[in-house]
């Protein structure tokens, strides 16, 4: 079974089973980890903001214009910031590590 690692806002790491074809946001949300994802994955809210571990960044699909525009409404955006609803999980991402960005 593929999995991803999610570091919560207290710094605790959770390993979560990852389903092919789900977005990383959906994987985090369905594991009952605290991610607001107010717009349900439509790239319309920026409340699924995560930081991606550096070595995984180049393996992710490129950021769309929509996603970088939406990131403007997030806080504490860093070079490794992504909106997790815009990252579809695929087998090559087995082991991906993301950190949940602060809530606002």
């Amino acid at each position: 079974m593929a999995e991803i690692f999610v570091i919560d806002r207290d710094g605790v790491e959770h390993s979560v089973t990852a389903t092919d074809g789900w977005s990383v946001m959906e994987i985090v949300r369905e594991a009952d980890l605290p991610i607001e994802a107010a717009c349900g994955g439509c790239c319309a809210c920026a409340t699924c903001h995560v930081y991606v571990a550096a070595d995984w960044l180049p393996k992710l699909p490129e950021m769309s214009r929509d996603e970088s525009n939406m990131l403007d409404e997030a806080f504490q955006v860093q070079d490794n910031s992504r909106l997790s609803c815009q990252i579809p999980f695929k087998p090559e991402l087995d082991g991906l590590t993301v950190t949940l960005a602060p809530e606002f």
């Binding site: 107010a38 717009c39 439509c42 319309a44 809210c45 920026a46 409340t47 970088s68 525009n69 990131l71 403007d72 409404e73 806080f75 504490q76 955006v77 602060p102 809530e103 606002f104």
Partner: protein
């Protein structure tokens, strides 16, 4: 996009009496106007946004929806426009840019609802179609921000005069940020714009005008994110910026206007004495009435076993709700079930009688 700031100065006007007051002009509230209208009931709607449409207009106006029965595809904006068109024969009245704040029961059993703008509405029926709550501006999530809010840190512009002669810092890269920067620049003592990156999602025309101001030295432009506010007793003196290029910068300013989009917040209706379950209002599935007689909840805000937060569920709930609402509004009238296809009475109400 705009929404009123949570606090406002109420000025109480004479009450408006109607059949139904709908809190929330999202798709559910708009369709409730139509269903109520067919039964001969008049509606007033209150919404915090500056336009009807709720999530459809605020969050995804250009995105396609595929699961509205008999409409294979429409955008959030098209759905809103169609609902407005459908409701038009019933002359709904909108009270926009204001939040429904308090709800009290009058001696005659009717409800009185007062908004943040001081509008007073009285009706036998209140319909809460409030989605996930009112759209309110996102606040700066900095630990020290609260004392400045409403004094020298603002999330919306209520009166332009307020900004005359100020050393203004505007934060954001969208239309609100740029539009207000351009409008306030002529009356402010100085203006500065801070945005995360050298790319703006605001309308190209505004971006061009902003760049022209920067080029002639009338406005300064900074790339980074606000990390700290400085000042005392709510009076801002400057901010520290974490620059996108890596360093830190301090910008002097006495007023900060921050635009980070809107979010939905349950708001005042949490204290209206209704049964809540995880920030949703519990209702029966016969009439979608709450624990208070005469107060109904429909759409995303309503919950019951099996609830699906879909637009089509809100439509169904609106139709059933109106049947019972009619009893409160016209206690002496018997309601007869009729189709819009064939009823001359309904045709008259719809304005399609020949």
């Amino acid at each position: 996009m705009s929404a009123t700031e949570p606090q406002a100065a109420p000025t109480t006007d004479a009450p408006i009496r109607t059949d139904m007051v709908i809190v929330g002009a999202g798709p559910t509230g708009l369709f409730a106007v139509f269903e109520a209208g067919l039964l001969g009931l008049r509606c007033h709607l209150v919404d915090n946004l500056d336009k009807p449409g709720g999530q459809c207009i605020e969050l995804y106006p250009d995105k396609p929806i595929y699961d509205i029965p008999a409409i294979p595809r429409c955008t959030g904006e098209e759905l809103t426009n169609n609902l407005l068109e459908q409701a038009r024969p019933f002359h709904p009245e909108f009270h926009l840019n204001q939040q429904a704040e308090s709800l009290t029961r009058l001696d005659d059993g009717h409800w009185r609802l007062v908004t943040s703008a001081g509008t007073v509405l009285e009706a036998p029926v209140i319909v809460i179609a409030a989605g996930a709550g009112s759209f309110v501006p996102r606040r700066l999530p900095l630990p020290g921000a609260a004392p400045f809010e409403g004094k020298s840190l603002h999330y919306a512009v209520r009166k332009m005069e307020h900004f005359r002669g100020k050393h203004l810092l505007v934060a954001g890269g969208g239309d609100s940020a740029l539009d207000w920067l351009l409008s306030l620049q002529p009356i402010a003592a100085s203006t500065a714009l801070v945005h995360r990156r050298d790319e703006f999602r605001a309308a190209p025309d505004s971006v061009e005008k902003m760049r022209a101001l920067v080029a002639e030295g009338a406005t300064s432009l900074h790339f980074g994110q606000i990390a700290e506010l400085h000042g005392t007793d709510g009076q801002l003196e400057g901010v520290t910026l974490k620059q996108t290029s890596g360093g830190e910068e301090r910008i002097a300013c006495d007023t900060l206007l921050a635009f980070f989009g809107l979010k939905m917040e349950l708001g005042p209706l949490a204290s209206w004495g209704l049964n809540l379950e995880r920030n949703l209002i519990t209702v029966d599935t016969e009439a979608f009435e709450t624990s208070q007689p005469g107060i109904f909840a429909i759409g995303d805000i309503a919950t019951y076993p099996g609830k699906l937060k879909l637009i089509l569920s809100g439509f169904h709930e609106a139709a059933l709700m109106c049947q019972k609402a009619h009893k409160y509004c016209r206690p002496d009238q018997k309601l007869v079930f009729r189709y819009t296809t064939s009823s001359t009475e309904l045709h008259k109400r719809l304005g399609v009688a020949d």
